[in-house]
Symmetry: C2
Subunit: 120 residues, 2 copies
């Protein structure tokens, strides 16, 4: 029952079959969920070393520093990992909108009665 | 450039190769990220219909209503979906600890200097 991955202090990420973790980004001030993305081992290492979020783009199959073209980087205030170490939570200070649509958060629509409603 | 999945009001989830979405659960009051899990189409439908979170357990390969044994259900206050509709954010009122370790959140360790520190 006592799994050191859950009870210990070693960083031992459990990457999935594609070598990825799930990363959830929230705004460190507002608490709003800004985006969900994925990280491979290199993306995680670069994020922890540099203090700005780097992901693995599944669609482009390459490392992707958030804000590399837009300048809208995500400065990491705190990084947490979950019980089984297959998901990371980054509390960040965003330099601009997190969504490629220009919105603060990618989660700009509410699900209501089987359809979507814009929140802002 | 105008993808109706991103700009429209139709709920059109983009399930991955395994038929899953990523689901992020936050506490509707505190904003804390409680857990990250996955949903197939049935789990999403049951969650939206019943108002309590249902996930797909990858390890057990079955639907898993959070709290089905512990009673620690997650009542959904608001459900949102992201720009490309492959991730869901559930703002919930938890009936008890969300982590199977008994902790409020699965994210009970901070990553610091390459190791983990317990936050509570």
């Amino acid at each position: 029952m006592s799994d050191p991955r859950e009870t210990g202090t070693d960083l031992s990420p459990k990457f999935d079959a594609n070598g990825l973790l799930t990363a959830v980004v929230t705004d460190a001030d507002s608490g709003e969920v800004l985006m969900v993305a994925h990280m491979n081992a290199d993306a995680l290492a670069l994020t922890l070393q540099g203090g700005e979020a780097v992901f693995w783009s599944r669609s482009r199959a390459r490392l992707w520093k958030k804000g590399e073209t837009s300048g809208h980087v995500l400065r990491v205030v705190e990084a947490r990992i979950d019980c089984d170490q297959d998901a990371v939570w980054l509390r960040c200070t965003p330099a601009g909108p997190s969504c490629h649509t220009g919105r603060t958060s990618c989660f700009y629509r509410r699900i209501e009665d089987g359809a979507l409603t814009f929140t802002a």
